[in-house]
């Protein structure tokens, strides 16, 4: 047991009960020599524990320790789940911010330095705030168990296809798009250069394409810190191990999205979702998280957006229903804003507006803490501005130009947009006349989050491009965060029925189940011919492009490092036909694993798999390339295709690697 840092007379949350002391009145830290000694011992332990864990190759325990340690110092939230979720949100923002100075300190991302510093910071924060570690372990009710069960079930469904598979097959499951490859280049290069890429622009980055050094890097930075702690991540030159770890972290980020969304929904609904009535609704939202749009963020390889979604869900929850401790609320909101900015700043304008709504609504309470509010606001504004400013300054394209880009994304079903809006709006509109701050704030946030998506949608419909714009669907996702988090309010619709049948629990439960069942079917896409990336297809592994993972592992086994030639992996699909997904993605993933993306990007942009490519086109491409190519083939048609090109252009420096007959 860890004794109180100040005196034995302190209350359970660590407040001094008036023990005599010669310290100034504002001092909340240790007051007795014994307390000082304990703090000193903890500071020593903050470095000894990482040394021991890393020596035993169990470094993965350290982030868990830091997370639980942070939760133990938070006093907001009634249950252990509340504390853990809030701590996670807080940590993301803090780590992203601290990452700025750490990026300039050589070696700060090394496992010992980073974890030692984090644990030291926790000890110092606890000592200065006069808080001893405390967790409300016994305070869990049915809804909390529901949130945990919902998270576990969605996590199990998402993880199931990856279990018992090697790297190639794990990659195949996610190789339905190229975004993950580019995220890998950022995360892997952060591990190499030791910090945010925009602070190391002078360093050689052969795996980073123009503009990607200014992409929001919060998630990649956290992944890099975690990877450095894992035994598999010890050899940073081992790109396959590094990528495999990223796949695991990606699944973890999806689980974070699920727990954050479910917790936020539960938090916003508050007393509406209590007892067994909460379970059908938590079940419906869990079903949406797996069978609806959120799973596509995992399968399409969007880790930044997954983290942004989770953080935004927490922010929306805290804006609608703040925690009771004002200081913690201020710090949490600031940290979440910084986290959103570093993770996925497309959501930042809405997040900023949501925070503004809270500032205006709670101004009287907040102005009682002017110094904390002012200092935190300055830190928050600076921290949240870093990613957008860096991106605007360094990116080769303008923000408006990028907003209209097409791209590979699972299109949001417009009927689902309407369904979520109706579900989320029903309760707050019905209760508008009651002047509830909670539901009026909810209404404002729903409207504010819908406007950008609706505006861009109308613009795109008028210009005839409504199905092409990538970021339109991302803005729909932003709207989903708010509507899903607010969806517990739908139970307000049941209020008259609940009042009438309150004595009959079965009737109430049946009504709640029917309503949540309708909700589930309205917002998920269970039919088989739904867009690629839905949970059902993921669970049954119908999304996977198996040839892509196999081709990548074969290519990287033969040519693990860049050697002056670009590797074109024409395995498992014919060169002359469309539908070359396997070879297209294998070429992309091989290039990033070879740390050669910058020189290679042309080959997969030129060879979009859905287009057939004539020999003349391929010859044009190869003959104009300043870099020599090697092509890996395992079918006769492709072999003859490239051989004909080579014989027609004798000056072409092309190495054809014939892998026919090899398994």
């Amino acid at each position: 047991m860890i004794p109180d840092l100040k005196s034995s007379a302190a209350d359970p949350v660590g407040r001094d009960a008036g023990a005599p002391s010669d310290r100034p009145s504002w001092w909340r830290g240790p007051r007795t020599p014994r307390a000082f000694l304990i703090v000193l011992a903890l500071l020593v332990a903050a470095w000894v524990v990482p040394v021991v864990c890393l020596a035993l190759r169990i470094g993965w325990i350290l982030p868990l320790l830091i997370w639980i340690g942070t939760a133990s110092l938070i006093r907001s939230g009634r249950t252990l789940l509340d504390r853990l979720v809030l701590a996670l949100g807080l940590l993301v923002g803090v780590v992203c911010t601290v990452g700025l100075p750490l990026s300039l300190w050589s070696g700060a991302l090394e496992p010992l330095q980073s974890t030692g510093l984090a644990l030291t910071s926790l000890v110092v924060a606890g000592a200065v705030a006069g808080r001893r570690p405390a967790l409300p372990v016994r305070e869990l009710g049915v809804p909390e168990y529901g949130v945990i069960a919902g998270t576990l079930v969605t996590a199990a469904l998402a993880v199931r296809p990856f279990l018992g598979r090697g790297f190639g097959d794990r990659l195949s499951i996610l190789a339905i798009g190229g975004a993950l490859a580019r995220h890998f280049t950022i995360y892997d290069t952060i591990r190499t250069v030791g910090g945010y890429l925009f602070l190391h622009r002078g360093a050689p980055m052969p795996n980073i394409d123009a503009g990607y050094d200014s992409y929001p890097q919060g998630v990649h930075f956290i992944y890099a810190l975690l990877a450095n702690l894992m035994p598999q991540g010890a050899d940073r030159a081992n790109a396959v191990a590094s990528f495999d770890l990223m796949i695991t972290f990606d699944i973890g980020t999806y689980v974070f999205l699920c727990v954050a969304t479910l917790w936020a929904m539960r938090w916003v609904a508050g007393p509406l979702l209590r007892g067994w009535v909460s379970l059908p609704f938590i079940g419906a939202v869990s079903g949406y998280l797996f069978f609806g749009d959120p799973i596509t963020l995992l399968t399409r390889g969007f880790p930044s957006e997954m983290a942004g979604w989770g953080l935004l869900a927490l922010l929306v929850a805290l804006v609608i229903r703040p925690v009771h401790r004002v200081r913690e609320q201020i710090v949490l909101v600031a940290s979440l804003l910084i986290g959103v900015s570093f993770a996925y700043f497309l959501f930042l304008p809405f997040a900023g507006l949501a925070a503004l709504v809270w500032l205006i609504r709670d101004r009287r309470t907040l102005l009682r803490r002017p110094i904390l509010l002012g200092v935190t606001a300055v830190v928050c504004l600076v921290g949240a501005a870093v990613s957008p400013v860096v991106n605007t300054v360094y990116s080769p394209q303008g923000v408006g130009e990028r907003l209209l880009l097409p791209g590979g994304i699972t299109k949001v079903d417009r009927a689902v947009v309407v369904a979520w809006l109706l579900i989320a709006l029903a309760g707050p509109i019905l209760r508008f006349h009651k002047r509830s701050r909670i539901w009026r704030t909810t209404l404002v946030l729903i409207v504010v989050s819908t406007l950008p998506a609706a505006g861009l949608f109308v613009d795109q419909v008028l210009s005839g491009h409504a199905n092409q714009t990538y970021y339109l669907d991302k803005l729909f996702h932003e709207m989903f965060v708010v509507t899903v988090v607010s969806s517990g309010s739908v139970i307000l619709v049941l209020a008259p029925m609940l009042a009438a049948v309150a004595q009959h629990r079965i009737a109430v439960l049946a009504g709640a189940t029917a309503l949540s069942g309708a909700m589930f079917f309205a917002v998920t896409n269970l039919q088989y011919d739904g867009p690629v990336g839905t949970g059902r297809r993921h669970f049954q592994q119908k999304n996977a492009v198996w040839g892509a993972g196999q081709g990548t592992t074969e290519a990287i086994r033969l040519f693990p490092r860049p050697d002056g030639r670009i590797t074109w992996v024409q395995l498992n699909s014919r060169a002359d036909l469309g539908g070359r997904d396997a070879s297209h993605w294998a070429t992309l993933y091989t290039s990033v694993l070879q740390h050669n993306y910058r020189a290679s990007w042309s080959v997969f942009y030129w060879g979009y798999p859905w287009l057939s490519t004539s020999e003349a086109e391929t010859a044009e491409f190869l003959m104009t390339s300043p870099e020599p190519y090697r092509v890996l083939v395992n079918d006769t048609v492709s072999l003859e295709y490239f051989s004909r090109i080579k014989s027609r252009y004798p000056t072409l420096d092309l190495q054809i690697v014939d892998l026919r007959g090899r398994k």
Partner: protein, 203 residues
């Protein structure tokens, strides 16, 4: 009633925005000047389907083609080469069959020297032409290459086999009123006006 300065400024800004949008959407016209940077920004900027059709109209008519209609061009981009593809098919396909015509414009940027050298090793025999741009060549497949300054461009006309249901090659008995000539010299003759127009504009 006099409009206030605020309204005037807003109206002026709106009009400027409208004219900027309108200017940005002006379709490329044959004969209008084109910089290599503009072509690099968008390989399909040189022609719309309609303006390409106008360039080709005379040659197609002389070659006996029926009236054609085109889809919007599609581009393919890499760091070393860019391609714009125009596809045309007969306006009345029931009468004139489904014979299509493809026009490929390759913007090889400054990477086309090897292809030009390869072309010189196997030029198209009997292709009468004067030099286009600073240097030009037609290879034995009928692909026409030229250089203007440091920029290399190639124009290739392709007449794919007539297909039914997307993949079955039609028999001779299935032909309707028109089957396109597909010899390299015929294809080069079709590519010539496009290459000439483009080279003049890039100068």
């Amino acid at each position: 009633m006099r409009a206030s300065w605020g309204y005037r400024i807003v109206a002026a800004a709106g009009l400027s925005l409208l004219s900027a949008c309108a200017a940005a959407q002006v379709p490329a016209k044959p004969g209008s000047p084109l910089t290599s940077q503009e072509l690099r920004d968008d390989p399909c900027r040189a022609y719309t389907a309609k303006s390409m059709q106008r360039v080709l109209a005379g040659t197609l008519k002389r070659a006996g083609w029926p009236q054609v209609t085109g889809n919007p061009p599609t581009s393919r981009i890499a760091a070393n080469v860019q391609r714009c593809l125009y596809q045309f098919s007969p306006k009345d396909s029931r009468r004139d069959g489904d014979q299509s015509l493809r026009v490929y414009i390759y913007n090889e940027l400054d990477n086309g020297a090897k292809l030009m050298a390869a072309c010189r090793t196997r030029p198209l025999r009997g292709a009468p032409m004067s030099t286009i741009g600073d240097e030009s060549c037609i290879d034995d497949s009928g692909e026409l290459r030229f250089r203007v300054g440091d920029s290399y461009v190639a124009v290739l006309i392709d007449v794919p086999p007539r297909l039914q249901s997307g993949n079955r090659v039609l028999n001779a008995s299935d032909t309707s009123t028109f089957t396109a000539p597909s010899r390299p010299t015929d294809l080069a003759a079709l590519a010539l006006p496009v290459a000439r127009d483009l080279a003049e504009r890039l100068h």
